[in-house]
C-alpha cells in the first residue's frame, strides 16, 4: 500500500463486495451458500483490518483531512442539544473558521468551541478552510470567559490546518491573539475537555486546546508544522511531505507515546467519515466520562492538576540538574 488513493479504492472494492454478498444472501437460502457467504464476510473483515491497521503516518494525514470527515458542527448536532451560536469578538468581526456557542450536554448547560471546515467550495471560502484569524481566537476566549462566569464546562474541538498566515491576520495580531488564549485558558476556573478530531495544526490548534483532558481521534494528527511546510523548509521540496509526515511523529499513537495527549479514541473501521453517527456515539460516551471525572474535582484541585499536567509535559532533556549554576 503506497498511497492513500489505493486505500480508498480498496475500501470501495470491499464495499462493492459487501453489497454483492448482501444481494446474494437475499436470493440464496441453502446451507452451503450461506456458509460460503459467511466465509467471504470473514475474509473481507480480515482484509479490511489489515488495510487500516497498517496506515502510514502520511495516510493518516490524508484521513485527518478527508473531505467527508465529521466537523465540529456535526459533533454538535450529534452529541449536544439546544445549541445557540455566539458570534463575533466584539472588537473587529466574526470569524467563521471558529464556531462557539451555548449548548446542553445530556441536559447540562455547557459551552462548545471548535474549528469549522467545510465541504463545498463556497462554504470552504466562507469558513476560510478552517484557518482562523485573530478575531476567531478572540471570539473563542470571550465565549470561554463567559463559560467561566456562569460556571459552565467547556468542550473544544480541534480541526485546523493552522492559524491563517495573511497580511490582515498579522496586522491584527495573530501571534498576540494565540498567546493570550494560551495564558487565559491555563487559568479558566471551569473544566475544559479538548478533542483533536482532525488536523491539529500547530499554534492555530493549540490556541483553543489547552484542556484539562486532551483526547485525540485515532486518525487525527497534531503537529508543530504541516508535513508540506516541514518538507519545503528542511528538504526545500514540498513534495517530500510524506517523509516529513513520518519524521514529525504526528499521529495519535506518537502523541500518546510522548504523553502529550490523554487518550486515543477509536474510530469506526475505515475512519470517522465512514460512520459519523457511530463516531459521535463513542465520542459522546468518552466526553460524559471525562466530564464526570473533572466535575468531581474541587476547582482548586482542577487548576493545580491542570498546571501540573503542562508543567510535566514535554520534558525531554539530558542531565537535568537545577543546582548546576556557575559564575559567568
Amino acid at each position: 500500500m503506497t498511497n492513500s488513493k489505493e486505500i480508498y479504492e480498496q475500501r470501495e472494492n470491499i464495499q462493492d463486495l459487501e453489497e454483492q454478498i448482501n444481494e446474494l444472501s437475499k436470493i440464496n437460502q441453502d446451507e452451503e451458500s450461506r456458509q460460503e457467504i459467511e466465509r467471504l464476510r470473514a475474509r473481507i473483515e480480515r482484509v479490511r483490518r489489515e488495510v487500516f491497521s497498517k496506515l502510514t503516518p502520511w495516510q493518516k494525514v490524508q484521513m485527518a483531512r478527508h473531505p467527508q470527515r465529521p466537523y465540529t458542527l456535526d459533533y454538535i448536532q450529534h452529541c449536544f442539544t439546544d445549541f445557540i451560536e455566539i458570534h463575533g469578538d466584539r472588537k473587529f468581526g466574526d470569524d467563521h473558521a471558529i464556531v462557539c456557542g451555548m449548548a446542553r450536554f445530556h441536559g447540562e448547560p455547557v459551552v462548545v468551541v471548535g474549528h469549522q471546515k467545510a465541504r463545498d467550495t463556497k462554504q470552504k471560502v466562507f469558513r476560510n478552510f478552517g484557518m482562523p484569524k485573530p478575531e476567531g481566537y478572540r471570539k473563542a476566549i470571550r465565549v470561554m470567559k463567559m463559560a467561566e462566569k456562569f460556571q459552565r464546562p467547556i468542550f473544544t474541538f480541534i480541526d485546523t490546518p493552522g492559524a491563517y498566515p495573511g497580511i490582515d491576520a498579522e496586522e491584527r495580531g495573530q501571534a498576540e491573539a494565540i498567546a493570550y488564549n494560551l495564558r487565559e485558558m491555563a487559568r479558566l476556573r471551569v473544566p475544559i475537555i479538548t478533542t483533536i478530531t482532525g488536523e491539529g495544526g500547530s499554534g492555530g490548534a493549540l490556541a483553543i486546546a489547552v484542556g484539562d483532558i486532551v483526547n485525540m481521534l485515532e486518525y487525527a494528527i497534531y503537529s508543530v508544522i504541516s508535513p508540506e511546510g516541514c518538507a519545503s523548509i528542511m528538504w526545500r521540496d514540498a513534495s517530500r511531505a510524506e517523509e516529513a509526515a513520518t519524521a514529525l511523529k504526528l499521529t495519535a499513537e506518537d502523541l500518546k507515546a510522548f504523553e502529550l495527549i490523554d487518550e486515543i479514541l477509536q474510530e469506526p473501521e475505515g475512519g470517522a467519515h465512514t460512520d459519523p453517527l457511530a463516531m459521535a456515539r463513542s465520542l459522546d460516551e468518552h466526553l460524559q466520562k471525562d466530564l464526570a471525572r473533572l466535575k468531581s474535582l474541587p476547582i482548586e484541585k482542577l487548576l493545580s492538576e491542570r498546571y501540573e499536567k503542562y508543567r510535566r509535559m514535554g520534558q525531554f532533556f539530558e542531565k537535568a540538574s537545577a543546582a548546576a549554576a556557575h559564575r559567568s
Binding site: 497580511i167 498579522e170 495573530q174 499554534g203 508543530v224 511546510g229 523548509i233 509535559m313 539530558e318 549554576a325
Partner: protein, 282 residues
C-alpha cells in the same frame, strides 16, 4: 641600480601583510552600507553609529550589557535535548545540535541569567539566534518554565530577550507544547503580580511570538526587528501578494498597536530599570 631593485621587494611583502591585518577590523553595515570600524561597533552595542541599524548580538553579550556590572550567574546551563524524535532530514538533528554547540559554546538556544538590574534582583533570559535559529524545543521551554518558577518563589522580575524563528521543528509536537507550558507559567506569574517584560529583537516569529514574547506586562522591541506569527516567506507563498513596505517590522507593529514601545539597544537597560521602578516597591 641594484639597491633600487632591492627596495622594491620589501614593500610588496608588507602590503600583503597589512591586508591580512586589516581584514576583520572593519565591517559593512547591512543597512546603510557604510564601512564601520568593528571596535566602534562593539563600543556602540553592535549598533551602527551612522544609521542606528541594530546588528544581531550574542545572548551572552546581551546579558552582560543588561545586568549590573555585567555580572550574572548562569542557571541550567547543562540542560541538553535528548532528541526524542530521532529527527533526520538532509542532516541528523544530533549533528545540527553538535555544530550549534561548537559554534556557540551553548547546549541550547537560551541563556538564563540570575543577577541584579538597577540594584534589584532579577532574572534575565536571552535567546541565541546562532543556535538553530534561536528555535524553541524542550530545553528552551524547560529553562523558561524554571525561571518563571524562581521568579514566583522570590517575587523577582523576569525579562526575556527573544530572537527566534519559532518552535523547533525537529522536536515536533513536543516543541509545540512548550507554548502551553510557558503560557501556563506566565498565568501564575501574572496572578502573583510579579513583573514580566518581553523584549523582542530581530527576528522573533512563530511559536515564540505566539506565546511568551507577546505576554509581557510590557512588550517592547528593538528598532527595525522583524516580528510576526507567520514569516514573510510563508505569507508570500500563501497569498501571493506583494507585502507592504516595512511589513512586520517593529515600527509597523507599533503603528498597529501590537507593541508598547520601541527601545533602542543603548537605552534598553535604563528603560528596564525605570519600568521596574514603576512596577515594584522601592
Amino acid at each position: 641600480m641594484a639597491a633600487w631593485f632591492k627596495k622594491e621587494k620589501t614593500p610588496i611583502a608588507s602590503v600583503e601583510q597589512k591586508r591580512v591585518k586589516t581584514e576583520g577590523l572593519w565591517t559593512k553595515c547591512e543597512s546603510c552600507k557604510q564601512i564601520i570600524w568593528k571596535k566602534d561597533l562593539a563600543a556602540n552595542f553592535n549598533v551602527c553609529p551612522k544609521c542606528n541599524f541594530h546588528f544581531k548580538m550574542d545572548a551572552r553579550e546581551r546579558l552582560k550589557m543588561l545586568f549590573d556590572d555585567g555580572i550574572f550567574f548562569e542557571l541550567d546551563s547543562d540542560l541538553a535535548t535528548s532528541d526524542p524524535l530521532h529527527f533526520k532530514d538532509i542532516k541528523a538533528y544530533r549533528d545540527r545540535l553538535r555544530d550549534a554547540t561548537k559554534a556557540t559554546g551553548l547546549k541550547d538556544a537560551i541563556i538564563s541569567g540570575d543577577g541584579a538590574l538597577g540594584g534589584r534582583p532579577a532574572l534575565i533570559q536571552a535567546m541565541e539566534y546562532r543556535f538553530i535559529g534561536g528555535s524553541m524545543g524542550a530545553v528552551v521551554g524547560e529553562k523558561i518554565v524554571r525561571a518563571i518558577e524562581i521568579s514566583l518563589q522570590r517575587r523577582c522580575p523576569l525579562i526575556i530577550i527573544s530572537v527566534s524563528g519559532g518552535a523547533r521543528m525537529m522536536e515536533g509536537a513536543i516543541s509545540l507544547m512548550q507554548l502551553a507550558r510557558i503560557s501556563a507559567g506566565l498565568a501564575r506569574l501574572d496572578d502573583a503580580r510579579v513583573p514580566f517584560i518581553s523584549v523582542l529583537t530581530d527576528p522573533t516569529t512563530g511559536g515564540v511570538t505566539a506565546s511568551f514574547a507577546m505576554l509581557g506586562d510590557l512588550n517592547v522591541a528593538e528598532p527595525g526587528a522583524l516580528i510576526g506569527f507567520a514569516g514573510p516567506r510563508v505569507i508570500d507563498q500563501t497569498i501571493r501578494q506583494k507585502l507592504p513596505e516595512g511589513f512586520q517590522r517593529s515600527e509597523f507593529l507599533l503603528e498597529h498597536g501590537m507593541l508598547d514601545g520601541i527601545v533602542s539597544r543603548k537605552e534598553m537597560r535604563q528603560f528596564l530599570i525605570r519600568s521596574l521602578d514603576f512596577m515594584m516597591a522601592a
